[in-house]
Symmetry: none
Subunit: 200 residues, 4 copies
């Protein structure tokens, strides 16, 4: 019937070494300048081993991106949307101020632009991040801190848009002040109604 297997098994250590080296290399030189030759040497692996398991540079990068894009931001729960958001953005922005992190994110974005194959895992990563923020907003909506019919996806994109825009261009910082203003803006943009001045 089916021959189960013969010969040496795949060396998992080699696989990990390649992925780790890929992440480091991507951060270092970007998607352009990313070389299988260099990757293999950095990983201490033969070129053929790379080609045996990944069909292309894009595939390695894609897997590297997918593997690394796991880190999550803890969702705060202070009971009020404004403070929840402010805290969430502060944590997020502080992470993004780390040059290594922003560098990695930028190069992941560039890779995603250059090659659609790498885009898929990257987009999934982004979708996960959006989902985090959305659940925060949903909590606010459930507490009626938002007008009915508020477009949560829009607000999410607004928030991550600021993060990425400043992160990619670097013309202005992602500091605590920006986090506070962003939280306030989201709250203002989703405020329930202009009529009844709030009390509570």
């Amino acid at each position: 019937m089916e021959r189960p297997h013969t010969g040496r098994r795949r060396n998992e250590a080699a696989r990990e070494a390649v992925i780790d080296a890929a992440i480091a290399l991507l951060q270092d030189v970007g998607y352009e300048g990313f070389t299988i030759e260099r990757l293999a040497k950095d990983a201490g692996v033969g070129k053929q081993t790379v080609y045996r398991w990944w069909p292309s540079k894009a595939a390695v990068v894609a897997e590297a991106i997918g593997t690394r894009a796991q880190h999550t931001i803890p969702l705060p729960d202070t009971g009020a949307l404004g403070t929840d958001l402010a805290e969430f953005f502060q944590t997020t922005f502080r992470q993004s101020e780390d040059p290594a992190v922003i560098n990695q994110l930028k190069h992941m974005m560039a890779a995603s632009i250059e090659n659609p194959e790498t885009a898929a895992p990257f987009k999934e990563f982004l979708a996960n991040r959006r989902a985090s923020l959305r659940s925060l907003l949903e909590r606010g909506a459930a507490r009626h801190e938002m007008a009915d019919g508020t477009d949560l996806d829009f607000l999410t994109d607004l928030a991550y848009g600021l993060l990425w825009y400043r992160g990619l261009i670097g013309h202005r910082p992602l500091d605590d002040d920006a986090a506070r203003k962003l939280a306030a803006a989201l709250v203002a943009a989703s405020a329930p109604a202009p009529s009844a001045p709030s009390d509570s």
Copy 2:
């Protein structure tokens, strides 16, 4: 003194041939696969002539894109911030929905990430776009449609952040609805004060 110049001048025809060929080639094979060798041959130009005037593939591409990317958005002036913004974003978003345009912008961004050397003209381009929007917002501030001390740069980044975030990822459209919501969000985020109810 100043030596005015000696020797043959730059051949403008060659420059144009290169830029034209670059645009065609970019559309044909994309940023990857874009070869200086092929570019020179297509343009009927020596490779050296390309390298003489552009430091890198990215630089040629940047200029090619920049040459074509002259489209300016007319600043509407309806007398009210909300409608001005809505109109501005609608026009902007509609342009960005063109696959060719968004593709060029994405590749400009990727090139800017991969190669900081090319980033300068791109950042200037972005700064110009921000300045357009900012002048619109300033008009609103002058009309006291905004709270004192509103951070116009923050609002600008918020707006372009949404544009770029959706443009780069493509997970949701930049349609008229988004434009309207964005205008409303900016207005809400900069509203003069919750205390004094409006009196139209």
Copy 3:
């Protein structure tokens, strides 16, 4: 221990293809005009393969010369120095009248002048040729057809000097007459003594 070798071994066929192509190319276009690019293409080999094994154009040419410069002239043995020499020179000169041969020799000489790196194998080749003639002369000396203390190296240089001088300049032919005269001149220059006839 000793690492025996790792990785694929050198492809001997490629080496031979390069050398063969080098010989042909050298004959065709000379040392100038000899292009590594063309050599690689003619040999059906990657340029890198050439550069991997030879440090320079000169080195390839040197090896090509060394490989090809094996053809030996049979040493005649008629029992008398004069006829031995005459026969040897006739054979040698006739070979040298072939335009292809003389062309190759000239270009070898030029290469040896231009680039000392190529000189070594060429000089060895020349030394081999001198050794052939010298053994002929030694036989004559052993038969006491020469004066004691005759400088065989000088005679050898005299003979090959004529060959090369005419070969390089081409102002006069290397024909049978020249061969005969050369043989006679060597015999005269090495004659044992003015034994019987002359006095003084």
Copy 4:
């Protein structure tokens, strides 16, 4: 009369600067490595000025060679062929032992091989040198120091053959001993007749 001439006259100094630089450059780097670009820069001259007056690198080299190759050997006149020749060869060989001289001669030869265009002035130079020696031999023939019908051209080639052969290869010196042996060899090879004892 004469047209007063308009505009700048041809700069003879530029021509000389080129030739001088060519000689120096040729000695320095040989025919290979000889660059018009470098020549123009060394001469402090525009490339076009070189091309205006010489059709090719070979032509410049040819003229440089022709200009410099003027040095003549004084013809000795001792009354006897053997001593005349010995003196002539000693003088000639001593000049040729100068590394600068031999280097220049070798590169001239190489240039002549590589590029037939440069060969003409070089061959003329060689012909002049042969003519010198031939006139010496003719004097000996006139004095009946030679057999009737001796091939003077052959003897000339024999002599210069030795000079060039040793000069080009450098395996043995062109010293006074060699000069003496060469003179003796020529005398022996042209001796009037073994039978008839001399009767001066």
